[in-house]
């Protein structure tokens, strides 16, 4: 049987890739190791958060699934950082992991050209420099034009609980054991990473009286722009705290920790440390916060966020019992550390296609990232680009100034990663414009052009943008009278002042201006936040615009594929090695490679323009590279 595209793995990367490709009417085969576990949340069943929430919105704006799934399957919604500026808000939802899997399957089955098959891929078939198909464990062979690999932590996965370890892809699932070697035989290098997860406890055994209740927001924000569904809080979370006793138990058991006895050698994420790391590194603290998060409304399983560990089961039990409220709690799944193979993403093009094997795409955790959202946006971009390749259209590379997805992929393919990569707002140099409120404006035009989103949705959003612009203009023109204003605000003005200028002041909100002036702005929370954010950040965004413009010209200075760096004299050896390894697509990308200096870039520019017969102007060569 032959398909246009085969997607290997039905985690958060794989489902986006398969879905978007099928949405564009290509024939897609999605291979999963377990049909009931598509869209499984193997770690914390939550989606979004600071920076990650923005990625979910971007995925949604580009026609992806994640936003719609979580709006339906979410059971507890909170807007993080809501006391700060909207550029760093992060929408976060606790998911019902059972419902999330069900929603995933339903969404996939709604795509007529998408076939789903349970099976483990054993080998990739290559014809010359291009892929041709896959072989699954039953021996069946499937032909295709492109493959998207999204196996998550399954490759040679090894789970650790204490000093005992067993092969596993996720908890309770077998790993994929032959595929790494097969991929390596194609000339692609693999590495090894580690991550961990927390013990799950039985909600019936928790004394909630002793914990702090954390309800969801009163008016939850949806992730999706489609506004198909109004998110509902269906549960509450609970906050607890480790004690001196907990830390003592951990310290006394470090000789049975696979992390501290050297059994796990791979690098784990610095930003999501295990409780043993936290206790060792911040020994002086008297306690660490724990969040008890329900995994589903259908059962009583609680995720113990903050207690990620790979200590032995008996130690985990003692640790849990040392926390107030959990004295009698029963662990129903122990926490575990997991080591798995990944492929250094420096071996990828910015389209997520392998630089070594044509039409072979890599997405998600196998690229060294961590997090469902990071995985989803890679799956989506890999899916979009595989389609573009097959239908012979131009590939999509999102710029760092357009999206977190762009930042993520550029970081991966330019800088690589040696530890599980998690997205932060501070990784985005243009974060003041990469906000949740404008993901649609930033990305929907691209999505609409490619037919990734429904025409009606795009038109509806366009009408909203028009209204937003109209109100903004009104606010720019409306003069506010000092007498009237000063009565209602501590931010005094001396003379009539434009409403927009008032909003630009840090302490003034759009709401205050509306209340004072009675200006008729539609009562639509999303629209109002959009207007306010646009006005408040406008000045800063403008300051960055020149910078972006300059960077763009730099991005457009394309370095020819197979450019011979050895022909460039004057390049420092360190730079030459790095450039040859990464083979950047443009001078812009080259300039972001750590260790490549502006002097190297100037030299390179001379050669590139010579080869290319394009003129790289002195101005383009300017600063801020």
């Amino acid at each position: 049987m032959k398909f246009d595209i085969i997607v290997v793995g039905a985690g958060h990367a794989g489902i986006e890739a398969a879905h978007i490709a099928a949405k564009r009417s290509l024939s897609v085969l999605l291979l999963t190791s377990h049909l009931d576990l598509m869209g499984q949340m193997s770690c914390n069943p939550s989606i979004g958060g600071i920076a990650k929430g923005n990625i979910v919105r971007e995925v949604d704006a580009l026609g992806g699934l994640m936003g719609r799934l979580i709006d339906r399957a979410g059971i507890h919604f909170r807007l993080l950082n809501s006391s700060k500026g909207s550029a760093v808000w992060g929408n976060r939802a606790q998911a019902d992991k059972v419902q999330y899997r069900n929603e995933t399957r339903a969404a996939l089955e709604a795509q007529p050209s998408l076939c789903i098959l349970q099976g483990m891929v054993k080998r990739i078939q290559v014809n010359g420099e291009c892929i041709s198909g896959v072989v699954v464990d039953s021996g069946e062979v499937f032909q295709c034009n492109a493959i998207i690999l999204a196996m998550g932590t399954f490759l040679n996965g090894l789970a650790h609980v204490g000093l005992s370890s067993h092969p596993a892809g996720r908890s309770g699932e077998p790993p994929s054991t032959e595929l790494t070697e097969n991929i390596e035989s194609l000339g692609i290098q693999s590495g090894r990473l580690k991550t961990g997860t927390s013990p799950r406890i039985d909600g019936r055994s928790v004394d909630y009286e002793k914990l702090e209740r954390q309800p969801g927001d009163e008016n939850p924000w949806p992730f999706s722009f489609s506004s198909e569904i109004v998110p509902q809080n269906k549960t509450v979370c609970w906050v607890g705290r480790t004690t001196e006793e907990t830390h003592k138990i951990i310290k006394e058991s470090l000789d049975r920790s696979p992390l501290y006895t050297g059994k796990i050698k791979s690098i784990g994420p610095r930003y999501c440390p295990s409780i043993e790391d936290k206790v060792v590194r911040f020994g002086e603290r008297d306690g660490h916060t724990l969040f008890l998060e329900p995994e589903s409304v259908f059962h009583q399983e609680l995720y113990l966020n903050g207690l990620s560990t790979s200590l032995p089961y008996d130690v985990q039990e003692k640790m849990v019992h040392s926390v107030a409220g959990l004295e009698n709690a029963r662990i129903i799944r122990p926490g575990y550390g997991i080591e798995y193979d990944y492929f250094q993403p420096l071996q990828l093009l910015p389209t997520l296609e392998s630089r070594i094997v044509r039409n072979l795409y890599f997405a998600g955790q196998i690229n060294g990232t961590s997090g469902y959202e990071e995985a989803a946006c890679q799956g989506l971009i890999a899916g979009i680009n595989a389609v573009q390749r097959i239908i012979g259209e131009e590939e999509i590379i999102l710029g760092r100034e357009t999206s977190y997805a762009g930042v993520l992929i550029d970081d991966l393919v330019t800088r690589g990663t040696e530890e599980p990569y998690r997205m932060f707002t501070s990784r985005a140099e243009y974060r003041l414009q990469l906000r949740q409120d404008n993901c649609d404006e930033r990305l929907m035009p691209i999505a609409a052009k490619l037919g990734l989103i429904e025409k009606e949705l795009f038109e509806k959003r366009q009408r909203l943008w028009d209204r937003k612009m109209g109100f903004r203009n009104e606010l720019e023109q409306l003069k506010v009278d000092p007498c009237r204003w000063n009565n209602s605000s501590d931010e005094k003005i001396q003379q009539p002042t434009r409403a927009a200028d008032l909003i630009r002041r840090p302490q003034v909100s759009l709401q205050q201006v509306i209340t004072c002036t009675g200006i008729g702005i539609e009562e639509n929370r999303e629209l109002r936040v959009g207007i306010e954010s646009d006005i408040k950040y406008e000045g800063f965004v403008a300051k960055q615009a020149a910078h972006i413009e300059k960077a763009k010209r730099f991005e457009q200075a394309v370095i020819p594929t197979n450019f011979d760096y050895d022909s460039v004299r004057g390049l420092r050896i360190e730079s030459r090695v790095k450039l040859k390894k990464i083979m950047p697509k443009s001078l812009g990308q080259a300039s972001r490679i750590p260790g490549v200096t502006p002097a190297d870039i100037s030299i390179l520019a001379i050669y590139v323009s010579k080869v290319h017969h394009t003129h790289v102007s002195r101005e383009t060569m300017g600063s801020d590279v």
């Binding site: 760093v88 976060r92 916060t289 903050g306 140099e429 800063f540 502006p598 010579k610």
Partner: protein, 455 residues
């Protein structure tokens, strides 16, 4: 590098007669071009790197020998510029240097632009921007303090100092960032405000750097010494004595110098700008009053003030008031005309104000050399007392640090942490600019335009 021109220029100063001169040639054709001009072509071609040898330099046109020279070959990349280089040492006469340069150009060399050798060294990764600046500093420094500053740049002391500033900024920034990124997570309390992250403290420290720079601006501008005092006390005569020529019009009519007059001269190793100012007196006319206003401005901005007063006149109340207002650390009083009065009473009155007094007669040149001695001591003291800024060694640094200060002040004034971070990021970019990590073509042009040719 392929496609690059070969440049040549004298590396030693021109215009003055000297025993020897050095001419440098750098670029892909440095060896070919030199070979064309030498009698002993094969010997030159076979010469090893960094070995000196004697050759006859001749005219390409008529084959006439121009000079006996020595030449050294340097092979890329182990040369100053990182390219093939030749250094020719010839006799120092300017005509010889010119003729040799002319021959080299006929052989295919281009006349080097300002600072082009150093620029090539920079572009070929042989030196970094700070070293390039340091080289300029060393070439141009005329005082011990400037050389100290250039060495600070060249030896990496400066880079280390800037690195300390970068670390300070990053420490604050990372606190703000973790407050943004991890506000929901373990034990990082959500702080809505960007205040109390210590931004003001850094702003204050940078302000201090700029103040230090302001204080020592005279190192580049020259120390200002102002001669002030009542009319007709001999200010202009002292001015002329100090600079050694008749610059100010001297007349016995009071109020002759109505504007300020200045002249540059050297005291020991320091540059001094000596300023002659209008006489200060009560009840002056409009034009004179304007002159007095300028004089008091000069006094305020000067590092040294010599108050000149005459021995034959009583100390008026107004003059006492003026003297009393002078900053004691920088003032010397000269009582002139001891040929016509002993000035003892005035001396006692002024010494009582804690001001050192020298009694002289400019007319008979009595004690005049003492004035210079005291000035020199005062200059030494000012130099020793001046604290050098860590981060600012030249005008380029000063301009960047000023921008950096402005960004940090903006960061300290805002409430939202993401906006504070925005400004701090820009301040960090300034640090990058300081050490040349993100030097733009523009910056490079600016730096190298101040170079002299041949460096």
């Amino acid at each position: 590098m392929e496609g690059r021109s070969t440049i040549a220029a004298p590396a030693t100063g021109t215009g003055r007669r000297s025993a020897l001169a050095i001419i440098r040639i750098s670029g892909p054709k440095a060896f070919d071009i030199t070979k064309k001009c030498l009698e002993e072509k094969e010997r030159f071609a076979a010469a090893k790197a960094r070995r000196i040898a004697l050759f006859s330099f001749k005219s390409i046109g008529n084959g006439e020998i121009i000079d006996e020279v020595t030449a050294i070959k340097w092979f890329a990349p182990r040369s100053f510029t990182g390219e093939n280089m030749v250094e020719i040492i010839c006799h120092g006469g300017s005509a010889i240097v010119e003729e040799i340069m002319w021959e080299l150009q006929k052989a295919g060399a281009e006349m080097a632009g300002k600072g082009e050798f150093t620029r090539r060294a920079l572009e070929n990764g042989k030196i970094d921007l700070l070293r390039a600046e340091a080289i300029r500093g060393m070439i141009e420094s005329e005082s011990a303090i400037e050389i100290r500053s250039a060495r600070h740049l060249y030896g990496g002391g400066y880079a280390a100092a800037v690195e300390r500033w970068r670390e300070k900024l990053i420490t604050v920034l990372s606190e703000i960032e973790s407050n943004i990124e991890f506000s929901n997570e373990d034990d990082i309390k959500e702080r809505a405000s960007s205040r109390d992250f210590g931004i003001e403290k850094i702003a204050g420290e940078i302000e201090k750097e700029l103040k230090k720079r302001e204080k020592i601006a005279f190192i580049e501008m020259g120390l200002r010494l102002v001669i002030a005092g009542p009319p007709n006390a001999g200010k202009s005569t002292l001015f002329n004595y100090l600079i050694g020529k008749n610059r100010s019009i001297v007349d016995s009519e009071p109020g002759t110098t109505r504007d300020t007059v200045s002249e540059r001269c050297r005291v020991g190793e320091w540059d001094l700008v000596i300023v002659d100012s209008a006489g200060m007196r009560d009840g002056a006319g409009r034009i004179e009053a304007e002159g007095m206003l300028r004089a008091s401005e000069e006094i305020a901005s000067a590092q040294i003030v010599i108050w000149v007063t005459a021995s034959d006149e009583e100390l008026q109340d107004k003059e006492r008031e003026w003297i009393g207002a002078l900053s004691k650390q920088k003032v010397i009083c000269v009582i002139n005309k001891i040929d016509i009065g002993d000035g003892r009473k005035k001396e006692n009155q002024i010494v009582a104000e804690n001001i050192p007094v020298i009694k002289i007669s400019l007319k008979n040149e009595v004690n005049c050399e003492k004035v210079m001695d005291v000035v020199e001591k005062l200059v030494q003291k000012i130099m020793v007392d001046s604290e050098l800024p860590d981060m600012i060694q030249n005008a380029r640094h000063e301009e960047i640090v000023e921008r950096m200060r402005n960004e940090i002040v903006s960061a300290s004034e805002v409430y939202a942490p993401e906006i504070a971070a925005f400004y701090l990021q820009r301040a960090l970019q300034c640090v990058e600019e300081l050490v040349g990590h993100t030097a733009s073509e523009e910056t490079l042009d600016k730096i190298f335009s101040d170079f002299c040719i041949g460096k």
